[in-house]
Amino acid sequence: MKAVSAEEAVAMIPNGARIMVGGFMGVGTPERLLDELVRQKKSNLALISNDAATPGKGVGKLFEGEQVSSMIGTHIGLNPKAQQQMLGKQITVDLIPQGTFVERIRAGGCGLGGVLTPTGVGTLVEEGKQKIEVDGKPYLLETALRADFALVHAFLADYAGNLSYALTARNFNPVMAMAADTVIVTAEHIVPVGVIAPDHVVTPGPLVDYLVANG
């Protein structure tokens, strides 16, 4: 784990990168990294995020400057900008069930090729997917999802990069912290090693590549 500034962290992300961003409607999103992506005008981003948040919040900020070229998520209904860009075919949006979204990422982080889920069988979601029967029950094969960078927000991070999360800001963060080549973390509080008891560490330090220093 290496401590960096938000500016240095985002400078590592090239245009066109595939980024996974934690958060649910902007709650538990690393806002400082999003602000920096906007400031450095990173473009053509392939975004993997549960939702498009709302304009001006979380990943919603990326749609204002048209920095996203494609998105995989579950819901974009509360961000009119994302909707417009999708309906105007400026961006491609792959909307998938939320349970499938998180399991595909979990699979990506856990060395699995994918998962079998009953969700989506008999709906538009099954189009183009392999259907597999197990014990007489149909499932869809949903393939693993990984990214070049995971942008994660924790509540506590210690100097060794161990992370814990708070309340409903945990959501996709610990799952995404497993599923990218480079993991960049912001935290509400950076604390000495030992403040987070081993039993309360959710994301172990070795998974974290860069911890953004608090200014």
Binding site: G77, L78, L95, Q98, G99, V121, T123, Y165, T168, V202
Partner: protein
């Protein structure tokens, strides 16, 4: 009593002590206001919480404690938080006893459409497909008709949420279940006759000998 209150009060009667319940946005959210006193029900918010409580008093909200719409909520004693993989494991794994969702259409076989209107409204399905596929019991809470048009249709012409039929539909006019895959009128809203319900229902309904009024 207005339409939404009728629906929310009637759905609340389906809750049992110890149930783990997921409420969707819109009318389903109102169900929490009518939980009978003394009934110990756990509400799940799919963004990672069991034990959701009411909207906090002014100044008591925490920015990291929200419902699935991103709005501030509170947590009750005994609440638990978890990540999204756990949250949807609970949903898909059959650990959620009841899910209450809104609907655009339910058809005569109990199939639900509630996540998109092609070309018009494409917000994404969020957690709806997992909830309908995985919850032990699926209840749809919606208005019986929209702009005079029945939402209980012969066959859904909007994209389905799941191949699995729902268990119960509660509207402002009726309670409908699907025994043997056939839409069956169980109850009418107070003051309504069976004929009045049938007049605004497109799907064919099985009418049992006795169709009581909803007890609210």
């Amino acid at each position: 009593m207005d339409a939404q209150t009728i629906i929310a009060r009637r759905v609340a009667k389906e809750l049992r002590s110890g149930n783990l319940v997921n409420l969707g946005i819109g009318i389903p959210t109102l169900v929490a206001n009518y939980v009978p006193a003394g009934l110990n029900v756990f509400f799940q918010s799919e963004n990672g919480l069991i034990g959701t409580g009411p909207i906090p008093e002014q100044g008591m909200a925490h920015p990291l404690l929200t419902d699935a719409g991103g709005k501030p909520i509170s947590a009750l004693p005994g609440a638990a938080t978890f990540d999204s993989a756990m949250s949807f494991g609970l949903i898909r794994g059959g650990h959620v006893d009841i899910t209450v969702l809104g609907g655009l259409q339910v058809d005569g076989g109990g199939h639900l459409s509630n996540w998109m209107i092609p070309g018009k409204m494409v917000p994404g399905m969020g957690g709806a497909m997992d909830l309908v596929s995985g919850a032990k019991r699926v209840i749809v809470a919606m208005q019986h008709a929209a702009k005079g048009k029945s939402k209980i249709v012969t066959k859904c012409n909007l994209p389905l949420t799941s191949a699995r039929p729902v268990d119960l539909v509660v509207t402002d006019m009726a309670v409908i279940a699907f025994p043997g895959g056939k839409a069956t009128l169980l109850e009418t809203a107070p003051g309504l006759t069976v004929a009045q319900v049938l007049a605004v229902t497109e799907a064919e309904l099985v009418i049992p000998d006795a169709v009581p009024e909803m007890a609210l």
